[in-house]
């Protein structure tokens, strides 16, 4: 006899990833655990991933001093979160808005721009291209993917962000950052938001990073940086 247990994930931004139980078999009955991912749940996972990824980049690239960061256990890793109130508020606001856009499938790309404070020149561009499953957004159907696999994807990207310090050029001048969001031209511009230029780098070096796939949203990460050599 096969009994099916389905766990549905909440849509809150603070969605926690729980390790998935392996299918167990005992006394002639098999219990199978599957993870169904809804659009809301995926949006929550992806926006949370952005939050942690941005914080990680800010720490690894030394945009803010190390003493401004606090350690948090997440995705089976020790993540660093910026405790500067202004930065925290900014990132939280942006990720909330992103979650809304992700739910409507109107978020195409998120770019973290690292620029020099003095000259305003863009030195690094951390790009996260998002592909949304149209079927899910239009018909509202759910997809299946174990949490463990998603967590492994996110861990991979986080590890790559951490290791990117080895190949990215040292930022010699004080830098700051901005988050750019690519949306369709007909999407509404929320209050306190405005249009920006793409902040491109001339003749950059591009390194493709891993992807995070929730089966609803697929996030392809890459970093482009200014290369003078």
């Amino acid at each position: 006899m096969l009994r099916l247990v389905v766990t549905l994930r909440s849509s809150s931004v603070e969605a926690q990833l729980v390790s998935v139980e392996q299918p167990t078999r005992s006394m002639g009955t098999a219990q199978l655990t599957r993870d169904i991912i809804t659009l809301k749940g995926s949006a929550a996972i992806v926006s949370e991933f952005f939050c942690y990824a941005v914080n990680s980049i800010l720490f690894q690239r030394g945009i803010y001093p190390a003493e401004n960061f606090a350690r948090v256990k997440k995705y089976g890793l020790t993540m660093l979160i910026c405790e500067d109130e202004r930065v925290k508020t900014f990132i939280n606001t942006v990720t909330k808005q992103m979650a809304d856009w992700l739910e409507t499938g109107s978020l195409e790309r998120v770019v973290l721009v690292v620029a020099s404070i003095a000259s305003g020149e863009v030195l690094e561009r951390w790009s996260f291209n998002i592909e949304t499953d149209k079927e899910v957004t239009e018909k509202g159907i759910a997809r299946e993917k174990p949490d463990k696999e998603i967590m492994t994807d996110i861990q991979g990207v986080m590890r790559q962000i951490t290791s990117s310090v080895t190949f990215l050029p040292h930022l010699e001048e004080p830098c700051t950052f901005d988050l750019l969001v690519y949306t369709p031209p007909d999407s509404k511009v929320p209050p306190l938001w405005g249009e920006s230029d793409a902040r491109l780098i001339n003749n950059p070096q591009v390194v493709k990073l891993r992807s995070v796939d929730t089966k609803v949203h697929r996030v392809d990460a890459m970093v482009a940086y200014k290369f003078d050599g």
């Binding site: 404070i117 003095a118 750019l180 369709p184 920006s196």
Partner: protein
């Protein structure tokens, strides 16, 4: 029964056993007496004659003789001791044995002609002798006959043995051939089964491949339909591009007109600027000239004023001294009063002069202002010049811009469907959309390529397998052909053997016929029944022939099967060739698809690099960010700091400016021109006076110099014809010179004093001095002193 045996003697011994049964004892006795052969008892009806030749073949003849007699004889070895079974002491020689054989045969054959030797020997002695002679003759004849018959019999026996041997060998061969044929047949059957199975599998594979091919064809047809659709789209796009290019041309024309207008405006502006610059230049030149004139005047007035002041001071001092002297001398009061009055007047005059001098000082300050104005004018002039250079730069830039514009226009012309800049952007957007579509197509093509590759792989594998099978089948065919050839060869050999055997059998038949006829002739014994072996032989031959016919039939069947297999193989080969051709076509198609895939991959990499750079289609996406972001905050902080610094700097600068402004205000005089005019007139008067005073002084100075140095010096100014500059000439004439022509001329030019050659200086006397002092030592004073001394010596001493 007679037995002739000799088997125990060496290899060449012949044992001959003759068993003859006879009823007639007397005849046997007679034979024994004559031939020395003992008769052994035993009476029988039938007689068996067994002749053992060597140890192999036994040819037995059954006769009706029942009496058995055994004769042992040694044919080839007369020296042998022998183990004679008879009591007869001697041995029968080879010839004798034949004779004995013949006699026996004769006896056997002539059973009825028994002679009794016991009838009254004395009475019928002559008859007996004659009869004996005749009998002896008969016996001889019979012996000779027997001999010949025996020879014939021997030969026939040997022939029979040989034939038997050959028959055995042939039988063995035949049985072996039969076995071989059976095995071969079995093998053929197995092979045919295998080939049939292979053919079946081949056919199944061929069907599968055909299905695949049909699928490929279907896909090709789909791809072609897609291509057609794309071509139709491309045509529509081209039409759209044409219309857009027309629009672009119109826009370009409009742009050209605008450009022409702009060029005209620019030219007009340039000419205007040139005129202004010219005016400014002229003004600058005038201002410069005026400034120079004023400067020179000012310098002169300064000099004269300083001198006047010195003079006045001196006078003042002198007056003071005089007053003091007067006071000391205490001369008359009236004179003193007069002097005092005079002095007061002079004092008042001097005060007036001092006031004038002050005025002049103010005028000087005004001159400073004018100088500043001049400087500002100069700056303006410089600016104008800079503007001119800028204008040139601008012109060059404008040219560059025009070139660039033309390049852009060319580009616009080249880009179909892009009339304006916005059109270019739209075009780029379209291209990006197309790129996205192409990326999707690439994906599809890639998938198709992957499918085709997998199909190709399968087809290749099938082809390899079929080729391997075809090769195996071919090999099998070759083997079968070889086997067939071998079998045919065998068949021919067997037929040949059969024919040979038939011939031999025919010869046997003939021999038998001969023997039968011979037997018929003899008709003495019951040995006529020889038909049984011949019958068996015939039967066996027939059996063998039947088996041979079966084998031949089998061979034929196998040959047919082989032919069938060959035809199937040829069909398969043809099919495999067709498949190979199709495979080659598919490979070509795959190559084409791979090439397309490479192109698409290159495009994909290009697009990926674009994506990597972060480029996006502005028409399809909108880039948003929070207005209050960390960058803006950081930059705002930075700007605030910079602005503060700037403000401080400006404040400091404004303070300095205020001070300067106040100074400038104090200097400014509205009635400066009038004042200056007055001052100028006063200064002119003073200048005249100063000139007079200085002229007198100069005259004194020159006279004193002439008297002290012994030369009268005249100074003249001349214009240099080559450079146009003024040259000061000094003409020196010694007071000791004899005539007016003896004078030396010097030219003062740019701080250098050079002597000008004339008749006097080029005279040998002076020339020597010139060389000594001027050329060698470059000393004018020494030359002058020496010349003075020379002239002095000439006029006073000489």
């Amino acid at each position: 029964m007679y037995e002739v045996s000799g088997g125990d003697y060496e290899c060449s011994t012949i044992s001959l056993t003759l068993e003859i049964s006879t009823n007639i004892g007397a005849s046997s006795q007679f034979v024994c007496g004559v031939f020395g052969v003992s008769g052994i008892g035993g009476v029988g009806v039938a007689s068996d004659v067994n002749v053992i030749i060597s140890d192999r073949e036994i040819f037995s003849l059954q006769t009706g003789i029942s009496k058995k007699q055994k004769v042992d004889c040694n044919h080839d070895a007369p020296h042998a001791t022998g183990e004679a079974e008879t009591s007869f002491p001697g041995y029968i020689s080879g010839r004798k044995q034949d004779e004995v054989g013949a006699a026996f045969r004769h006896c056997c054959g002539n059973n009825t002609d028994v002679i009794t030797f016991k009838k009254a020997p004395s009475a019928v002695k002559s008859d007996v002798l004659t009869s004996l002679d005749s009998r002896e003759k008969d016996v001889e004849e019979l012996q000779s006959m027997l001999h010949t018959l025996e020879e014939v019999y021997k030969a026939s026996e040997e022939e029979r043995k040989r034939l038997k041997k050959r028959i055995d060998v042939l039988e063995q061969n035949l049985s072996a051939a039969n076995e071989r044929e059976k095995t071969w047949h079995r093998q053929r059957l197995q092979e045919s089964d295998k080939t049939q199975e292979l053919i079946r599998t081949h056919i199944a594979r061929c069907d599968h491949l055909e299905e695949l091919l049909q699928e490929q064809m279907r896909k090709c047809a789909e791809a072609e339909s897609k291509v057609q659709a794309l071509e139709a789209r491309a045509l529509t796009a081209e039409e759209a591009a044409e219309t857009e290019s027309e629009n672009a041309l119109r826009e370009i024309r409009r742009c050209q007109d605008e450009l022409n207008k702009l060029q005209d405006d620019r030219e007009y502006m340039v000419s205007k600027l040139d005129a202004e610059v010219e005016m400014e230049k002229k003004r600058v030149v005038g201002a410069k000239a005026e400034a120079e004139r004023l400067q020179s005047e000012l310098d002169k007035m300064k000099g004269s004023m300083d001198k006047n002041l010195d003079k006045l001071k001196q006078e003042h001092q002198l007056l003071d001294l005089e007053i003091r002297n007067n006071a000391l001398q205490t001369t008359g009061l009236t004179e003193a009063d007069l002097i005092i009055k005079h002095l007061r007047e002079e004092l008042s005059q001097s005060e007036q002069e001092i006031r004038e001098a002050r005025k002049l000082k103010r005028f000087h300050t005004n001159v400073e202002i004018l100088k500043e104005q001049l400087a500002s004018e100069k700056l303006r002039g410089d600016r104008a010049e800079a503007a001119l250079t800028n204008l040139a730069d601008m012109e060059s830039k404008v040219k560059d811009q025009e070139i660039e514009l033309s390049a852009w226009k060319e580009l616009l012309v080249k880009i179909p469907g892009a009339e304006t800049r916005d059109g270019v952007l739209l075009k780029i957007g379209e291209l990006q959309r197309e790129v996205v579509a192409s990326v999707a197509k690439i994906g599809e093509a890639k998938a198709e390529v992957a499918k085709l590759q997998s199909a190709l792989h399968l087809a290749k594998r099938a082809k390899d397998e079929s080729e391997a099978l075809a090769n195996a089948a071919q090999e099998e065919l070759v083997e079968a052909a070889l086997n067939l050839k071998r079998a045919e060869r065998k068949i021919t050999l067997v037929t040949k053997e059969r024919d040979g055997l038939k011939e031999i059998l025919a010869s046997y038949d003939e021999e038998e016929v001969v023997i039968a006829s011979h037997q018929k002739k003899n008709q003495t014994s019951g040995l006529a029944d020889l038909s049984t072996p011949t019958r068996s032989k015939d039967l066996r031959i027939k059996q063998l022939e039947a088996a041979l016919a079966d084998v031949q039939q089998h061979a034929k069947l196998l040959g047919e099967e082989v032919e069938r297999g060959n035809s199937a193989l040829s069909e398969q080969r043809q099919r495999s060739e067709n498949l190979a051709l199709e495979l080659a076509k598919e490979q070509e198609r795959i190559k084409l698809v791979e090439r397309e895939a490479d192109q698409l991959r290159a495009e994909v990499s290009m697009l990926e690099s674009k994506i990597g750079r972060g480029e996006s289609n502005p028409a399809a996406t909108k880039v948003l960010h929070m207005l209050i972001n960390p960058e803006a905050m950081a930059r705002g902080d930075n700007e605030v700091q910079a602005l503060r610094a700037k403000l401080e700097l400006h404040e400091r600068q404004s303070d300095g400016c205020r001070e300067e402004y106040s100074n400038a205000d104090s200097r400014s005089d509205s009635n400066s021109v009038e004042m200056l005019k007055q001052r100028v007139s006063a200064l002119e008067k003073r200048e005249v006076r100063y000139r007079q005073v200085f002229g007198n002084k100069i005259a004194v100075f020159r006279e004193a110099c002439g008297l002290i140095f012994g030369y009268k010096v005249q100074m003249n100014e001349e214009q240099d014809s080559s450079t146009g500059s003024t040259v000061t000439l000094f003409t020196l004439r010694s007071i000791y010179s004899g005539s007016e022509d003896e004078q030396i001329q010097f030219q003062f030019k740019a701080g250098n004093l050079e002597m000008i050659a004339n008749e006097y200086t080029s005279s040998p006397e002076i020339q020597r001095q010139v060389i000594t002092f001027l050329r060698n030592f470059k000393s004018i004073p020494a030359f002058i002193a020496n010349l003075t001394m020379e002239l002095f010596n000439k006029t006073t001493l000489g």
